[in-house]
Each structure stands twice: as structure tokens, then as C-alpha cells.
Amino acid sequence: MIAILIFGVSFLTLLQFFVSYSHSLIAESRGYDLSEQGREIAGVTGRIVRGDQFRRLLQLIAVCPEPGGDSGQVRAVSLYFGLLGLVRVLFGWIEPAVAGWIESERSGCAYLAAVMLDRRIAYNRVLMARQMSAQL
């Protein structure tokens, strides 16, 4: 009985902490301005990135060598994006406002992915510049 109670409470708090953590990652990324090159590669215009661009951005992140330390966050946001998809399937048809909220959340996930891609591109440019200067 106690185990069931602990499991139930832990599952609910896990959900809440995870959603808040994902929000904090997305909110933190909003303070980051994407570079021109990052925008061009990610196909972004303005400050809004559409939610449906998320998967493509993830594919670009996967082919870009990482500077270290953000792979766990990429997975965390992917999981949050997947959770949003599940919520849309389950509850999106009940209330149109839910669908609007989900889309804004998915757009936040996509912007965070664009920021991560931009950071990786910047890191790789620095690496390449170093390599070229070492060859000279």
C-alpha cells in the first residue's frame, strides 16, 4: 500500500519537476540570439521557430559534433516534445485552447533546438579556425 502511494506521488512530482525543468531550459534559451549563419542553416526567420521544425533541427544537431555537456538536455527536450505530442493526441480535440498552448510549447522546444544547433555550429567554427591557423 505504501509502495503504491509512494509510486503515485513520485510519478506526479516527476512530471511536474520535468515539465518545469524543460520550461526553464526553454526560457533560458529565449535570451540567446541566433546568429545569422545559425538562422540560415536552421531555416529560421524572426524569433519564432515552428514546432514542426523540431525534428529537422534534431537531425541537424545529430550530425554536428557536440562541444560536450548538452547531449542530455537534447534528450530531455526531445522527451518533453514527445510528451506534448502525446497530450495533443489525447486532449487536443477536447479544447482548441489546449492545441494552441501545445503549439506554443512545441515552438519553444524548436527554438531551444535551434539555439543548441547554433552553439554547436559556433563551436565547430572555432575548432576549424584553430585547425586552419595551426596548419599555417
Partner: protein
């Protein structure tokens, strides 16, 4: 028996923790976040110890069983110290750090006492049951303490991004482990959790490494943006 997947995950856990310690030292955060470094070093030492016992006595041996659960309880207690230091940071301006430390110590002793009582009154008084019960209860108390801290931070409009992310990662970790221990109690032969546990162990060092390398100490964030949607 352990397979190549288990050994790779064991090694990955260790590497991720070493990476996080290096990140913390490079960011010169040792004095500021001493308890986190202490936890990571303890976890690295225990990881090496576990590997040593597996090689010497085997994965299914009693020695490994005892070592695993007792070291896990020790790690959870060191996570309490991390949590206490976060409490101290959040309430630093109110000057109630001493009360927080005292309260957390009392709670820790109380949890150990209650766990011992629960096992002592059961029919099979095995000491291993005590430590499993203790771990489950410690993780659950950790969930409650983190939830309390998060609630206080929201109430006080705490806006230090680093602190917020550290508390939230602790919350995810404690909740995931408390839930998995409870599930383990309900279904003791669930093999899947052996792998999930390894992945959950990597969560804390990975997210801490991200927080310390990507989020500057002076970054601030409106509390409402974490609670509400990100428009």
C-alpha cells in the same frame, strides 16, 4: 550475470561523473558548490568499489547486494547535504540556515528510525530489508524536501537560473528514484529497471554539467516563465 551492456553503462556512469567534476573544477565552482563535488567524488569512488566487488565476488553475491544498498543509502545522504546547501542558498538572506540544517538532520535521523521500526516489526528481520526500506523512504523524503524548496522558491520569486535548474534536476532525480524503488517493491523481478537505473544515475551529472557550463552564475529568469507556457 552482467552483460556487455551493463559494463558499458557502468563505465558510462563513471565517465559522466568524472566529466561533471572536471566541468565544476574548470568553472571554479568548488568552494561555491562543495557538496555537489563531494557527492560526485563519493559516487565515483562507490562506482569503482562496486566494479571491484562485481569482479571479485560476482553480481549475484551477498557482498555486492550489501555494498550496493548501503553505498546507495550513503549517496542519498550525501545528496541530502547537496539539498541542504541549496536550502541555505535560497534562504541565505533570511539568516535561517542553522535551522534548516538542524531540521534536515532531524528529518534524516527520523527517516532512519522509522525505516528501522518498519523492518523490526516485520516477520523477516533481515538487515538488507532495512536498507532497501531506508533507501526508498530517503528518496521519498528527498522528493518532499525538494518540492517544499521549489514551492518556497516560487513563493519568494527566486530568479537565479542556475539555482532553479539545480533544484529542478534534484527533484527529477529524487522522484525518479523514489518511484523506481516503489515499483521495485511492487515488482521485484522487473529486469528493465536495472538498465533504467543506470540511465537515471547519469541524469544528475549530465544536467549539472550543462547548468555549470551553459548557464552563467549571474543569469536571471522570471519565475513565472518556468511555471507558465513559454510564449
Amino acid at each position: 550475470m552482467l552483460g556487455p551492456v551493463d559494463y558499458s553503462l557502468l563505465l558510462a556512469d563513471l565517465l559522466v561523473e568524472v566529466f561533471c567534476v572536471v566541468c565544476l573544477l574548470r568553472q571554479k565552482a568548488l568552494s561555491q558548490h562543495f557538496t555537489i563535488v563531494l557527492y560526485l567524488c563519493a559516487s565515483i569512488a562507490i562506482g569503482i568499489g562496486r566494479y571491484g566487488i562485481i569482479s571479485a565476488a560476482g553480481f549475484t553475491s551477498n557482498a555486492y547486494l550489501y555494498f550496493y544498498f548501503y553505498s546507495d543509502a550513503l549517496l542519498t545522504i550525501s545528496l541530502y547535504f547537496v539539498l541542504m546547501s541549496l536550502y541555505a542558498k535560497v534562504f541565505s538572506e533570511m539568516g535561517i540556515s542553522k535551522f534548516v540544517r538542524g531540521g534536515a538532520m532531524l528529518l534524516l535521523a527520523g527517516t532512519a528510525g522509522i525505516s528501522y521500526h518498519m523492518v523490526a516489526t516485520s516477520t523477516d528481520k533481515l538487515i538488507t530489508h532495512f536498507v532497501v526500506e531506508l533507501s526508498q523512504n530517503l528518496y521519498f523524503i528527498g522528493v518532499l524536501l525538494t518540492y517544499l524548496l521549489w514551492g518556497a522558491m516560487m513563493k519568494m520569486r527566486e530568479n537565479r537560473t542556475r539555482l532553479m535548474q539545480l533544484v529542478l534536476t534534484m527533484g527529477v532525480y529524487f522522484s525518479a528514484f523514489a518511484g523506481s524503488y516503489a515499483l521495485g517493491n511492487m515488482y521485484p523481478n522487473l529486469v528493465l529497471w536495472r538498465y533504467v537505473c543506470h540511465l537515471m544515475v547519469m541524469w544528475l551529472p549530465l544536467s549539472w554539467a550543462y547548468t555549470f557550463t551553459k548557464v552563467r552564475d549571474d543569469t536571471r529568469m522570471a519565475t513565472a516563465r518556468v511555471l507558465a507556457s513559454n510564449r
